[in-house]
Structures are given as structure tokens and as C-alpha cells.
């Protein structure tokens, strides 16, 4: 059923649970739809005027429908009490201790996601709206000792795989909604409030790319439209060692002959940024392009990234 519904790839620990919820309700819906639908078609055929010239004053005499309604009510109750409430409670209440988690602050604005890491000391530096400038969108007070090691990025959220993430979500201006479709996470970002959301990424972005990769036979003359947005995962080089199609670029019709000449039969392409942050709440004219990126990394990669950011911080401070 999940396949049939076309739910996106699952990249978080709670994702499959949410999918199961969706799938279970859709089973109920499908059964009801097919049940009533078949009855409907049959009745229209059986009781059309041509076949049934005069109507029966009383019609249905039994009370089967009451039982069906009762059963539907019971199933809804089971879905609600057995699945929905516990799952919701798990999503909003069972927040792991911050010590065991990657903790970040995300502050939405028209039309970007400001990501704030507390840095090695684990404490977010103070911020103040009077300090906000284009270079300092969070208004972070760099004189605060706790702020010295803080990392601030725009539209880029790096996370280590396998470790819970806790996001303190808020907004500077209007209501936005942090939407991470592959992680089955969505939470409104409301100005004046800080709301915690959490999830555990289970797959690295690179692995997701590999899973989503599509192989394209170079023998065709035309790159279909749905592949246009995908990019290569590796360099493709000609016989002379020259790069024909660099890693991370997208396939176009005009490189195909060169690839064929180089004797390459197939090219593997994958989505460039499969894990994204989308904005799900209308927030103004740039709502549609309020896009951020998530990079789920192995713990080592993540540490390296953090170290790199710290280095940049230090350089900027001088």
C-alpha cells in the first residue's frame, strides 16, 4: 500500500510509523470506497427504471447498515486510540534528553531558514533583535562568551546520522512551516514562540542519493524531462582522461555523443539534494522558493564539518 500511495523515501526513525498510520487509514478508506462503490454500481444497474418499472415504497428492510456504521465507528476508534494518540504523544512528548541529541535552533524568516548550532560548549549565545544585520540575521551577540563558538548557517542543516535531533523552531516575522518530507516532520514556525521538534535521521544523504539513483542508457538520443533535474554521482571521463561529465552536473542532450564516443554505456544520475527543507505555510511572495537543504552525514563527516565551521568562525573573528 505504501508503494501504491507513493509516499516518499523514509529517512527517519519515526517516518515508518507515520507511514503505517497513513496506510492503515487508507485501507479503511479503500474498503469503504470499494464496498459502497460496488453496491452503488449494482443498484444503479439493478433498479434503473427500465428494469424496475415501479418502486418499492419501503425499500431496504434490514438494519445491516447500522452494523456497518458501528463497525466503521469501532475501526475509527481503534485507529485513534490504538495508533494516532500514542504516535502523536511519542512525536511531541517523548523528546530525548538534549545531552544525547544534536540540538539546533532554527529561526525562519521571509524567505530563509537560519540555522544556529550552539557549538562545542552546547550553549546558544544570546541574540537580540537590535543586532540584526544582513550579515548577522539572527542578531547573535558575538560578545557573549557562549556565542563565541556558535555556528550560524543559512538554509543548510548538517546532521549526524543515527542520533536524535532536537530543533528549537521559531520565526522572526510571519508563520512558516518547517517541512522535512523525507523525515515525515512538519511543524509550524510561529513568531513569538519557540517550539521543539525532534526526529532521528537513519540514512545519510549520500546513501539516499544512491538509493534514488537512476541509470540512463547513453544510446538514447534524448534525455527525458524527469531526469533533467538529476545530477551525476561521479565524474565520467573520456578515453583521453578528460572529464566529459563532471560529478554533480546534470545530463543534457549535447553530451550524449561524447559519452557514446568514450564507450560509456550508462550514466547514473540521482537527485542533487534529496533531503530538503521546504516551507509548508504561505509566508509571502517568496514562499515557493523558501528552500533549505539537509545533509545527513556519518558522524565523522559531521565532526569534520563542524570543525571546518569553527575554523571559519575563527577566521571571521580576526
Amino acid at each position: 500500500m505504501g508503494e501504491f500511495l507513493g509516499l516518499p523515501f523514509d529517512a527517519s526513525a519515526s517516518g515508518p510509523l507515520i507511514d503505517r498510520m497513513i496506510i492503515l487509514v487508507h485501507w479503511l478508506m479503500l474498503v469503504l470506497f470499494i464496498g459502497w462503490g460496488s453496491y452503488f454500481v449494482y443498484v444503479l444497474f439493478r433498479f434503473r427504471k427500465g428494469r424496475n418499472a415501479s418502486a418499492d415504497y419501503r425499500g431496504v428492510r434490514n438494519h445491516a447498515s447500522s452494523y456497518i456504521e458501528g463497525v466503521v465507528a469501532v475501526i475509527e476508534a481503534v485507529l485513534l486510540i490504538g495508533f494516532a494518540i500514542p504516535l502523536w504523544s511519542m512525536r511531541v512528548n517523548d523528546i530525548p534528553p538534549e545531552a544525547d541529541a544534536t540540538v539546533v535552533r532554527i529561526v525562519a524568516e521571509q524567505f530563509a531558514w537560519n540555522v544556529h548550532y550552539p557549538g562545542p560548549d552546547g550553549v546558544f549565545g544570546k541574540s537580540d533583535i537590535s543586532l540584526i544585520t544582513p550579515e548577522n540575521p539572527l542578531g547573535l551577540d558575538r560578545n557573549d562568551p557562549a556565542a563565541k563558538d556558535d555556528i550560524v548557517t543559512i538554509n543548510q542543516l548538517n546532521l549526524p546520522v543515527g542520533k536524535p535531533v532536537i530543533i528549537h523552531l521559531s520565526s522572526k516575522d510571519v508563520i512558516h512551516s518547517l517541512n522535512l518530507p523525507l523525515f515525515r516532520v512538519k511543524q509550524d514556525a510561529i513568531p513569538g514562540q519557540s517550539i521543539r521538534v525532534w526526529f532521528t535521521p537513519t540514512v545519510t544523504t549520500a546513501d539516499i542519493q544512491r538509493v534514488m539513483a537512476r541509470r540512463f542508457p547513453v544510446s538514447s538520443s534524448h534525455v527525458p524531462e524527469e531526469l533533467a533535474s538529476l545530477v551525476t554521482l561521479a565524474d565520467y571521463t573520456g578515453k583521453d582522461g578528460q572529464v566529459i561529465l563532471a560529478k554533480g552536473s546534470s545530463l543534457t542532450d549535447d553530451v550524449l555523443p561524447a559519452l557514446r564516443d568514450a564507450g560509456i554505456a550508462e550514466v547514473t544520475v540521482a537527485p542533487d539534494t534529496p533531503t530538503e527543507i521546504a516551507c509548508a505555510q504561505l509566508c509571502g511572495l517568496g514562499h515557493f522558493r523558501m528552500r533549505g537543504f539537509i545533509t545527513v552525514q556519518t558522524p565523522d563527516e559531521y565532526r569534520a564539518w563542524i570543525a571546518d565551521q569553527e575554523l571559519q568562525n575563527a577566521q571571521n573573528a580576526q
Binding site: P134, D173, D188
Partner: protein, 590 residues
């Protein structure tokens, strides 16, 4: 439409009014039938307009960033330079489409037009209880509508914060939003006056013998609808006043402290709460969606009883379900707000009420389904639309269930799945029921019937294309594509797999537009040239068909007032000669 001048069709007036001038007869009329027709024409035009906005938007969704053909250049540089739609303009069109369809199109057609025209006839009343108030309702609605439309001409354009107008976005929006608020206050006032009038009329002016359990189901639907309007709209009016204060008087009801908009700290005092707007908005807007569906169910019930030639199955349970539905609709509002940071206790409450409210809908639908059993079904044009309503509402209603379960809503909230859900209930649902009603009562209003062939063409084309527009929305929504996206999601990689559907959906939407041509032609042609038919063309039982055709355009529907002896749907009564027994015939059945 207005051919039926007083005295036409040889009706004898016992209480002939002094002849009234053109203005009093056709424009500032106090007659419920004239007002009903005014509502109908105005609302249909708004529907067409709202749909046109959407057909323009669907171009941008199908071909993001490409110039709109033919008409693109007409919009001017502030909306569509070089014919390429700007995001601001897209948002304006979206907000206005939603507002116009709901508040200026469907509700005025379902309640203002059908309610006004049919309900007093069905209860055997000479008119509405307060004819002057009725006239004012229409004109205030009209002014509200014109105000709304004029907002397109404001600097910065029309309201662009969605039909939901969430604060603070709406508070910092351009002046079009202020106009939207004034328009809404007019529409709310009009609805309040209308609902006072409807409820009073139903309680006070029922014909002799017409007890509550003998009311046609349509009247029940209108009664419950009126209560919803009466008691749910004022909180939105309050919210509208607060938003106006925020916009005009510099208050901060919906504005928390410390807002920074495009790098500038806002000079407001703060201390407000953006979610207060949402609570008040949805306190209205959830009942409002049942305002959209109940009259539709009422129309469908009338037509099904008539075209199966048998009584509705489970009339009483339908009535009780409707009342229960109306009541419950006041306690589910926060299911639109699951993702605003709700905890477990409150979300459980609202999930539970949402599941509970699905039961009365299921009861009503089941009763309608079972009414078909044992019938002698005639596939007339109105019946086709009414029958199509059932599975279409079924799809819309069933897809409400995953939205009502908060964890599933995490993935589906604000995606095209929601758009699909509610369009199935309002477009192939309500809109089809309204079409059914138009075809069904057309002979009552004009004395002529609409052409059947054109009607059937209209039905089948609309049926095919409307599903073509909305079915793919579920696929897009499940894939996680957000709504209200200027480029339909083309930027996002998670949307790539389903983007190609946009072209198909848009083409279907435009074809849906073309499919309305047979209807529009049929409509106007039939007013003048349609086949003349008898007073009770459909052999129906309710009192509206006992009134003379095209009841005269002055006070007075019946002379004398009818008396009622039996329930509303006495079709195929055993032992009766004809297969229908009107409510006002005294004849005993053996």
C-alpha cells in the same frame, strides 16, 4: 429570467398588489423569489469569475515562468510583466479564488439562492418572515462582493495571504487586505441577517399541518445551516475587527513582540498572539465547510427521492444526524491547527471530535445510498449530478479521515492532499449538487425545462474533467508537495516525480471550463426557448411544486395557503393510483 411578470401564466391574484415600478419589482425587490434569482445570477457570475482566476493560475502551475498566452499582457507590469505571472499575483489569485468560491459563490448560491427561492415554497409560506431584511441581505452581499473585487485595483493588489488570512502575514500585507476585511464584514453581516430570517421563517411560517418531521430534508438542511451561520460567523467578525485594528490602529492583537520584517524591527507594541486569529478563523471556518455541504445534501436528497420514486430511507436518522453534525462542527476547529504546537491532550480531543463528526456524515450518506435500493431510478440530468455527488463526496469525506488523525496530518498538512480533499467535497460534491438543483428547479422558476441532451453533455464532460483535475492532487500530496506554491513545487526535488501531473491537471481544468459552455448556452437558451412544462413537471410531492409555476413576482406564492396532510416523500404509496402523493392532497389511501 424575469419574463414572469406579475399576472403572467394566467395566475389569478386574490391579493393583487398595486403595480410596482421597475426598481421595486426587479432591483430592490422584497420578494423572496426575485431575491433568490438575484442571488443565483450574482453567485453564478462570481463562481465563473473565481474559476477564471484559477484557470489563469493553472497556467503558471503547468508552465512555471512562461508567459500567459493571449491575456497575459493585459494584467500590466505590476502583476505579470511580459505576461509572466509574478509570485505576488499568484498569491492574490489564490486568496481571492478561495474567498470568492466559498463566500461569494457557493454559499450565496446554496443558501441565498436555493434557500431563498425554494425553502419558503417548500414550507408553504407566502414569503420570508422579514422581506425587507431579505432585500438588505442581498444588497449587503452585493456590496461586499463588489468591495472584494475592487481590491484587485488597490495599490499592491488584492489580498494575498490565502483565504485563511493568517496573521501576522495578513497584518503586514498591502492595503488589499484591508479591503478584504471590509468585504468580509459585509458578507458576514449579510449572512447574519439572512440566517435570522431563515430560522424565523422556518419556525413561524410553516403551513398548517407541516410539522417538523414532515419538513422536506432540504428545509432541515437550510435550518441547520442557518444556525451554523448565525452562531459561527460572529467570532470571525470579531476576528476581522481585531485584524482591522491591527492594520489601521496600530494595535498588536495578533502580533507578538520582537518581530523583524526584512531586517527592520516592527514598531508595534507586541504582546499579541498569532494563533488567536487561527482559533477564531477556524471557529467559523470549520462550521462554514458544513454550510457548504449541508444545503448540497438537502438538494441531493430531494432529487434522489423524486427520481427513485420512493421515500428517503431513514429520513429521521438523517435529520438527527444533520442536527448532530451541526452541533459537533463547533468543536472540531483545531484539527486545522494540529501542527501549531499542540500537545497530546488537546490534540486527542480534537482528533476524537473529528472522528466522531465523520459518523453523522456516514449516516447521511448511507441513508442516501440505501434510498436507491428498490427504487425505479430515472436518469434525468439533475439525477445524474445528484448521483455523482454521492461517490464524489465519498472520496472527499474519506480523505478527510487521514487529515483528522494528527500523526498522518504531519505528512499531509498543507499539501495538495488537503486541496484534493476539500475540492472533492466542494467541487464535484457541492458544485455538482448545485448544478443538480439548477436543472431540477429551473422549470419551477421559468416554466420551461432545460435541454436534456446539452445537460447530459455538460454532466459527462464535467464529471470526467473535474476528476482529472483533482484526483492527481492526492498523488502530489502524498509525495509531499506543498500547496500555494507559485511554481507548483518545481524547485523541490521531492516533488520532481509528480510535477509532470501539473500539465495534465491544468489541461483538465481548462477543459472543465469549456465543458461549462453547454451549460451556459443551455441556461440562457432555455429561459426563452426551453420547452414549456407543467406546474409539477417532475411529479414531485413537496409544496414547492404545488405553487403555480413561476410563482408571480409579488408577495404571495399560494392562494390560498396550502395545508399539509403527510410526510414529504410519499412516492409509490401502495394502493395509490399515481406514484406520488403530494403533501397537500387530502385524498385518503386505502
Amino acid at each position: 429570467m424575469s419574463e414572469a411578470a406579475p399576472g403572467a401564466h394566467g395566475v389569478v391574484h386574490t391579493d393583487q398588489h398595486a403595480p410596482q415600478g421597475f426598481w421595486r419589482t426587479y432591483v430592490f425587490s422584497q420578494d423572496h423569489k426575485t431575491i433568490g434569482i438575484q442571488y443565483a445570477i450574482t453567485a453564478l457570475l462570481f463562481l465563473l469569475f473565481g474559476f477564471t482566476l484559477m484557470m489563469i493560475m493553472r497556467w503558471q502551475l503547468a508552465y512555471p515562468g512562461q508567459a500567459i498566452p493571449f491575456i497575459g499582457k493585459l494584467f500590466g507590469d505590476s502583476r505579470a510583466p511580459e505576461g509572466i505571472m509574478l509570485p505576488e499575483f499568484y498569491n492574490q489569485l489564490g486568496a481571492m479564488h478561495g474567498t470568492i468560491m466559498v463566500f461569494l459563490g457557493v454559499v450565496p448560491l446554496a443558501v441565498g439562492a436555493f434557500g431563498n427561492y425554494v425553502m419558503p415554497l417548500q414550507i408553504g409560506a407566502p414569503d420570508m418572515a422579514f422581506p425587507k431584511l431579505n432585500m438588505m441581505s442581498y444588497w449587503i452581499y452585493f456590496v461586499g462582493g463588489v468591495t472584494m473585487l475592487s481590491s484587485f485595483l488597490m495599490p499592491g493588489g488584492a489580498a494575498a495571504s490565502g483565504w485563511t488570512s493568517y496573521a501576522p502575514l495578513s497584518v503586514i500585507a498591502t492595503v488589499g487586505q484591508t479591503v478584504w476585511l471590509f468585504g468580509m464584514i459585509c458578507l458576514i453581516t449579510s449572512s447574519l441577517l439572512g440566517s435570522v430570517n431563515f430560522i424565523t421563517t422556518i419556525f413561524q411560517l410553516r403551513a398548517k399541518g407541516l410539522s417538523f418531521m414532515r419538513l422536506p430534508f432540504f428545509v432541515w438542511a437550510q435550518l441547520v445551516t442557518s444556525f451554523l451561520l448565525l452562531l459561527a460567523f460572529p467570532p470571525l467578525e470579531a476576528a476581522g475587527v481585531l485584524q482591522l485594528m491591527d492594520r489601521l490602529a496600530g494595535t498588536s492583537f495578533f502580533m507578538p513582540s520582537g518581530l523583524v520584517v526584512s531586517g527592520q524591527a516592527l514598531a508595534n507594541t507586541g504582546g499579541g498572539n498569532p494563533l488567536l486569529w487561527q482559533h477564531l478563523f477556524w471557529f467559523l471556518a470549520h462550521p462554514e465547510v458544513y454550510v457548504l455541504i449541508l444545503p448540497a445534501m438537502g438538494i441531493v436528497a430531494e432529487i434522489i427521492a423524486n427520481n427513485t420514486r420512493k421515500p428517503l430511507w431513514g429520513y429521521r436518522s438523517m435529520v438527527y444526524a444533520t442536527i448532530f453534525l451541526g452541533f459537533m462542527s463547533f468543536v472540531v476547529w483545531a484539527h486545522h491547527m494540529f501542527l501549531t504546537g499542540m500537545g497530546t491532550v488537546i490534540s486527542s480531543f480534537f482528533q476524537a471530535t473529528t472522528m466522531i463528526i465523520s459518523i453523522p456524515s456516514i449516516i447521511i450518506l448511507t441513508a442516501l445510498f440505501l434510498s436507491l435500493w428498490g427504487g425505479s431510478i430515472r436518469f434525468t440530468t439533475p439525477m445524474l449530478f445528484a448521483l455523482a455527488f454521492l461517490p464524489m463526496f465519498g472520496i472527499g469525506g474519506l480523505t478527510g479521515l487521514p487529515l483528522g488523525l494528527a500523526p498522518a496530518d504531519i505528512h499531509l498538512h498543507d499539501t495538495y492532499y488537503v486541496i484534493g480533499h476539500f475540492h472533492y467535497v466542494v467541487a464535484p460534491g457541492t458544485l455538482f449538487a448545485l448544478f443538480a438543483g439548477l436543472y431540477y428547479w429551473f422549470p419551477k422558476v421559468t416554466g420551461r425545462k432545460m435541454n436534456d441532451t446539452l445537460g447530459k453533455i455538460h454532466f459527462w464532460l464535467s464529471f470526467a474533467f473535474i476528476n482529472g483535475v483533482f484526483m492527481p492532487m492526492f498523488i502530489q500530496g502524498l509525495a509531499g508537495v506543498s500547496r500555494r506554491l507559485y511554481d507548483g513545487g518545481a524547485m523541490y526535488s521531492h516533488a520532481q516525480g509528480v510535477m509532470h501531473l501539473n500539465v495534465f491537471m491544468s489541461v483538465c481544468a481548462w477543459c472543465l471550463g469549456l465543458a461549462q459552455i453547454p451549460f451556459i448556452v443551455n441556461f440562457f437558451w432555455s429561459i426563452r426557448k426551453g420547452k414549456k412544462v407543467s406546474d409539477n413537471y417532475w411529479d414531485a410531492t413537496t409544496l414547492d411544486w404545488a405553487a403555480t409555476t413561476s410563482p408571480p413576482m409579488a408577495h404571495g406564492n399560494f392562494s390560498p395557503l396550502p395545508e399539509v396532510y403527510r410526510g414529504p416523500y410519499e412516492y409509490s404509496v401502495p394502493g395509490n393510483g399515481r406514484d406520488f402523493l403530494p403533501q397537500n392532497t387530502q385524498a385518503e389511501v386505502h
